[in-house]
């Protein structure tokens, strides 16, 4: 035991002081849309996307794309395929949002278009984030896993000495009874729907729900199958969405900070991820 303690002391502090830094060069994050216009008639990104996250539409003869990060499994194929650089790799780990529609990026110059496109995916959030200030100092989270385990492992990693999310007051707890937040991973297929709802039902208000990973948001690659693995949309109200497959531990921490109302610690890089308008 003494050996272990002396080893740990020798290792010093592993924790990263820089909160939610950008990904290292060459590491794949989510895609983003830049202000470089799309070339008309090109469907390269649509053709390669495994989850139909991208669609192309036209406004006055110029091509535009819509990219739903809630469907994206961050495979990076569209980034590689895009000939113009309209889609690029987003190195930011600060990708969590509190409204589903904010995950939909477009090159459209018309805001109304954005809203219309996003309307179908809009989710009402009854226990709204207004209440988040309750959890500003600390939040106890219960995790329900319904997926492939990578999201869970990254959440586990967020608690390791490198990322150390406990320093932000985040605790993972073993019972819904004393949880403030419900973190859901995986596409929630038929087998887990009842269990998830009863877990939510066992939590006291105010309570918040965090959808961790693309599966939880939309079902990802499993969407539309016979097992109804379509994500959380029709099951529970959601407060924060963390896209990615799996999201980076920093993105997970970012999402929890957003849920706690502490995103000031790691603000979103607005110009990067929000809709970028095309200068004509």
């Amino acid at each position: 035991m003494l050996k272990l303690i002396s080893y740990l002391l020798q290792q010093g502090i592993a924790t990263n002081k820089n909160i939610c830094p950008d990904l290292a060069d060459g590491v794949r994050g989510l895609p983003m849309i830049t202000d470089v216009p799309c070339s008309t008639g090109c469907t390269a990104c649509v053709d390669v996307c495994p989850t139909d996250a991208i669609s192309v539409f036209k406004i006055e003869e110029s091509g535009h794309i819509k990219l739903d990060l809630g469907l994206c499994i961050s495979c990076g194929y569209c980034v590689d395929a895009c000939p113009t650089g309209t889609i690029a790799n987003n190195p930011s780990t600060r990708v969590a949002v509190s409204r589903r529609e904010d995950l939909v990026l477009t090159t459209s110059s018309q805001p109304s278009e954005n809203q219309k496109l996003a309307a179908s995916a809009l989710v009402a959030a009854p226990d709204s984030l207004e209440k988040a200030h309750w959890f500003k100092r600390s939040v106890a989270a219960r995790v329900v896993s319904t997926g492939c385990s990578a999201c869970d492992m990254e959440l586990g990693a967020a608690g390791n000495p490198i990322f150390d999310m406990e320093r932000f007051g985040v605790h993972i707890v073993a019972s819904p009874r004393f949880a403030d937040a419900l973190i859901v991973t995986g596409p929630i297929s038929k087998g887990m729907q009842e269990a998830l709802k009863s877990c939510y039902g066992a939590m006291a208000s105010p309570r918040i729900v965090i959808a961790l990973g693309t599966c939880a948001i939309s079902g990802g690659v499993h969407r539309g199958g016979y097992a109804s693995a379509n994500g959380i949309e029709d099951l529970l109200p959601v407060n924060v969405y963390i896209p990615g497959c799996p999201p980076h531990p920093w993105s997970i921490i970012h999402g929890i900070l957003v849920a706690m109302g502490k995103e000031r610690l790691a603000p979103r890089p607005v110009a990067r991820l929000d809709t970028v308008r095309i200068e004509k």
Partner: protein
């Protein structure tokens, strides 16, 4: 590996299997399923000479039944239950005939992978309601755990029947994360199927993509470049490295040596960094696909080598502290014991089989990237207990580190990815076998007349191994269950698909 389909009538199948899968035989059952509900498909493997045999036994349509194989060959027990779940084929005389993966939420006559119509007189013999095995007797009580677990892990249900603190019986009910992966793999265009194959169990993403790629390439009859083969093997070993490190760390958590688990968590981070270097993804997602791999720069490869060398140095003291800790050893010794004979009978694979002396590591048997040529020698133990499993894992961390170094040194220049034909050939069969960090992983693909994938079957190593926990934990204390479970480190999603 190219596979010939061999037609074999049902009665012959029984005889053949009884003759082949004996106690001392080298052959093993790889997989047992159906293509569309009209036949039984048995995949037999011969690890000794690296060959495989695929037996197709047509079923009489009006009967929809066959004599169960389980009473004589225990390893069929889950395969037959899954076969009913997916195809509605009844194994007559199965001693524990119940649903395996589909729960009450599904309609009674719903068989998702069945393509031919059910016989007119089909009578569903199995209600959806699941009944657990009941242990009766004074003082015996039941302890239900799950599907949602206390920690951050995948869901499953454990039903313990206990007498005092001793576990008399453990029944495991899975299927909670059944997402319909096999069906989905037949619905997407085959060029995009590797993304779905990876998501079958993303902690095994690389091995799944690898097995998928081998299976598709065997259908197409192509061989990828030397460089791609080296890079694939490096990626597979990086996945093993990261997962073995965290699994050894997990033993620390459950024994109460939190220093070990936090040190291992940090070192796993380093291993994931190496995965990032080769693939741009901590979980090696999207790296391997049919035809090759994503490009990797020479600089990154040499950084991987440097990383491996420093990891070896960093891991040594932590592993030594764990191995020398008397308390840890006592917590693991003789607990959760699995006998060699039962492991063999149930066709168990991977670390838990090697920990009771079964010398099977598919890297040494079946072609996968640069293996068997550059495969490390096998690590085995005889104890069959938690300690033995941990020792095998620790031994494999060492051999894996060496293997990665060797592979990086030998990796030639060249193309990373080749162009593949647009279409798969009609009525073909493809097989991919990979030694994932949990053990033998199999992908088996059938195409139809149009060259589309008509059946995609995955056999995760955990599918055979789950039964090991039920066996090993009997007569043990309930407090030892978490540690025993951790030492087996099984996959829920890979099993449930």
């Amino acid at each position: 590996m190219k596979l010939e389909r061999l037609e074999m009538p049902l009665d012959e199948l029984h005889d053949k299997l009884a003759r082949t899968l004996t106690k001392n035989s080298n052959k093993r059952l790889g997989l047992f399923t159906s293509i569309d509900g009209g036949q039984l498909v048995t995949l037999l493997l011969d690890p000794k000479d690296g060959t495989a045999e695929l037996l197709i036994s047509p079923l009489e349509l009006e009967r929809n039944k066959y004599r169960s194989l389980t009473p004589h060959l225990a390893q069929f027990h889950w395969f037959e239950r899954a076969l009913f779940d997916f195809f509605g084929i009844v194994p007559d005389g199965h001693p524990r005939f119940k649903h395996l993966l589909l729960h009450e939420e599904y309609e009674a006559d719903f068989f998702p992978l069945r393509k031919i119509a059910l016989p007119e007189n089909f009578e569903n013999v199995l209600p959806r309601r699941y009944e657990f095995l009941e242990v009766k007797g004074e003082g015996v009580y039941e302890l239900p755990v799950g599907p949602i677990h206390a920690g951050v892990i995948e869901p499953g249900h454990f039903r313990f029947s206990c007498f005092g603190e001793t576990i008399v019986n453990l029944e495991i009910r899975l299927g909670w994360v059944h997402r319909g992966v096999e069906k989905r793999l037949t619905e997407v265009p085959w060029q995009k199927a590797h993304f779905v194959a990876e998501a079958a169990a993303s902690d095994t993403a690389c091995a799944n993509a690898f097995a998928h790629a081998i299976a598709i390439e065997s259908i197409l009859g192509v061989t990828v470049s030397e460089r791609a083969q080296y890079l694939r093997s490096i990626a597979l070993e990086l996945e093993r490295l990261a997962m073995h490190i965290i699994d050894v760390g997990g033993i620390g958590t459950d024994i109460g040596l939190l220093g070990i688990s936090s040190a291992m968590g940090r070192l796993r981070g380093k291993a994931l960094g190496l995965a990032d270097l080769i693939s741009g993804s901590r979980f090696l997602r999207g790296f391997i696909s049919p035809g090759g791999v994503r490009p990797v720069s020479e600089r990154n490869l040499s950084e991987i080598k440097a990383g491996v060398i420093s990891l070896r140095k960093d891991l040594a003291p932590v592993i030594q502290i764990l191995s020398e800790n008397q308390m840890a050893t006592e917590r693991m010794k003789d607990i959760g014991k699995l006998s060699r004979s039962l492991a063999h009978e149930f066709g168990m694979v991977g670390i838990l089989a090697r920990a009771c002396g079964i010398e099977y590591d598919s890297r040494l048997s079946f072609k996968q990237g640069k293996f068997p040529e550059l495969a490390p020698s096998i690590v085995t133990e005889l104890g069959g207990d938690i300690l033995a499993r941990t020792r095998v894992r620790i031994g494999e961390i060492a051999t894996t580190l060496d293997t990665i170094e060797k592979l990086v040194d030998g990796c030639p220049h060249g193309e990373e990815k080749m162009v593949l034909p647009e279409k798969l050939p009609a009525n073909a069969t493809g097989l991919g076998i990979v030694e994932a960090f949990r053990g033998e992983l199999i992908h088996l693909i059938f195409t139809d007349e149009a060259g589309n994938i008509s059946r995609y079957s995955i056999k995760d190593p955990s599918f055979q191994n789950w039964t090991a926990i039920s066996i090993a934990i009997r007569e043990n204390l309930i407090a030892d269950f978490p540690l025993c479970n951790k030492s087996m480190a099984l996959s829920y999603s890979g099993n449930d698909l």
